[in-house]
C-alpha cells in the first residue's frame, strides 16, 4: 500500500496489535474502522486514533456491513483467535471482494493450509522464531 493517506482499512480485533495498527494507520491519514466484540476493548485505542468503532462479532456478515467492508481497500484480522481471523479473512475476500486481506495466525500448522486457500497470513510465532534465530546466529558470529 503506497498511498496510505487515501486508503480505507478495516481492523478486526482491538487488542494490543489491533489498537496499535489503528493508531498508526490513523496518524498516516488512512480511514480506519475498528471492530471488536467487546466495547471495553476500544479503551486500548490511543489519542491519535481518529477512525470509527463498531461493536459486534465480525464472524457475522451483518457486522462487517456495518464496518463498510465493501468499500475497504484492506482488511486486517488481528483477534486472539486464529479461526476467527481466518474465517473473517476468507469472507472479506470472497463475499466483500476486499483487494488486500491480512490475517494473524498463531499456529504455523494452520497457516500453511490457509496459504493454499489464498489467505495472506502473518504468524507471530514464525516471525519471533525467525528473529530469535537471526540474533542467535549473530551472537555466534560475534563470539
Amino acid at each position: 500500500m503506497t498511498k496510505k493517506g487515501s486508503s480505507s482499512v478495516v481492523i478486526v480485533g482491538c487488542g494490543r496489535l489491533g489498537a496499535l495498527l489503528a493508531g498508526e494507520l490513523s496518524r498516516e491519514g488512512a480511514r480506519v474502522v475498528v471492530v471488536d466484540r467487546v466495547e471495553a476493548a476500544f479503551a486500548q485505542l490511543d489519542a491519535g486514533f481518529s477512525g470509527f468503532r463498531v461493536t459486534g462479532d465480525a464472524v457475522e456478515q451483518r457486522v462487517l456491513h456495518l464496518a463498510n467492508l465493501e468499500r475497504a481497500d484492506c482488511l486486517m484480522a488481528t483477534t486472539e483467535k486464529d479461526t476467527v481471523n481466518l474465517m473473517v479473512a476468507q469472507v472479506a475476500k470472497t463475499v466483500f471482494a476486499v483487494p488486500r486481506v491480512l490475517a494473524r495466525v498463531y499456529d504455523p500448522a494452520r497457516e500453511e493450509m490457509y496459504r493454499t486457500l489464498g489467505v495472506e497470513t502473518i504468524s507471530p510465532t514464525r516471525l519471533s522464531a525467525g528473529e530469535f534465530m537471526r540474533r542467535f546466529a549473530g551472537e555466534e558470529r560475534r563470539s
Partner: protein, 222 residues
C-alpha cells in the same frame, strides 16, 4: 464408514450415542478431558480430548481414514476451520457443519463445506410453514389419538386438483370420507374429479397422515 464427530454438549452426546448404537465406526473429539471421559463412559465411543480446529488433533482422530467429519461446536468460525482442515489437509470426502448465523450457510458452501446446517433457519422455516398451513384444520383425533380426521382445503396449485379419485393412490390407512364443494357434501367415488376449492374430509392413521397430506396438497407436513 468412519465418522469423526467434533463438538460439545448435548448434541455431541446424542449423536455419539446414536452412531455407536448403529454400529458406525465413530471417533469423537471433545474440548475437555472431563467431557471426553464422561462421553466415552456413557456412549462407549472412542473419545479424544482436544481442540478439533488444530490439525494435529484431527490427525490423531484418524482424519485420513474418515469418510465424514461433523463439526458441531457452538462457534461458526471453529466449525468452518474443522471442515476446511478436514477437507483440504486430510481429503475427507464429506464435511458437515452446524451453522449458527443463517447468513453463513451460503458462505460455508462457497468454502467447500459439503453441507452446512443452520438450526436457526430450519426452525424458522418450520414455524413459517406452519403459519402458511391454513388449508389444513385438524378437526379431531379419534381412537386414542391414533387416527385423525382433518379438513383439507385444495388450493389451485395442489397436485390432486383435476384428478379422478381412482387415480389418487392414498396410503393404505388413509381415506377420504367426504368432499365439501360449495355448500354440497359429496360422497367420494372413483370417478369424482377433485377441484380447486374443494374441502376434503381426510381420515388417516398417524403414520399415513403426512404422506396423504403431501399427496393432496403438495406441501410438507410439519
Amino acid at each position: 464408514m468412519k465418522v469423526i464427530l467434533a463438538g460439545s454438549g448435548k448434541i455431541l452426546y446424542y449423536l455419539a450415542r446414536q452412531f455407536s448404537r448403529r454400529g458406525v465406526d465413530v471417533r469423537v473429539v471433545a474440548p475437555s478431558e472431563d467431557e471426553a471421559r464422561e462421553l466415552s463412559r456413557r456412549t462407549g465411543a472412542t473419545v479424544l480430548a482436544g481442540d478439533a480446529t488444530d490439525p494435529r488433533v484431527l490427525l490423531e482422530a484418524g482424519a485420513w481414514r474418515a469418510h465424514t467429519v461433523l463439526a458441531l461446536l457452538p462457534n461458526d468460525e471453529d466449525n468452518l476451520a474443522i471442515c476446511q482442515i478436514a477437507g483440504r489437509m486430510y481429503r475427507v470426502p464429506r464435511t458437515i457443519a452446524l451453522v449458527n448465523d443463517p447468513e453463513n450457510e451460503e458462505v460455508f458452501q462457497r468454502f467447500q463445506v459439503t453441507t452446512a446446517i443452520s438450526a436457526t433457519r430450519i426452525l424458522s422455516l418450520i414455524i413459517e410453514e406452519q403459519a402458511g398451513f391454513e388449508e389444513i384444520a385438524r378437526m379431531m383425533a379419534v381412537g386414542d389419538g391414533s387416527v385423525s380426521v382433518s379438513e383439507v382445503l385444495l388450493r389451485e396449485d395442489a397436485p390432486a386438483v383435476g384428478l379422478p379419485l381412482k387415480k389418487l393412490t392414498l396410503p393404505e390407512e388413509a381415506l377420504l370420507g367426504g368432499i365439501i364443494r360449495g355448500d354440497r357434501v359429496m360422497i367420494p367415488k372413483g370417478g369424482t374429479h377433485l377441484q380447486a376449492g374443494d374441502r376434503l374430509i381426510l381420515i388417516a392413521a398417524r403414520a399415513s397422515l403426512e404422506t396423504a397430506l403431501r399427496l393432496l396438497t403438495g406441501e410438507e407436513s410439519s
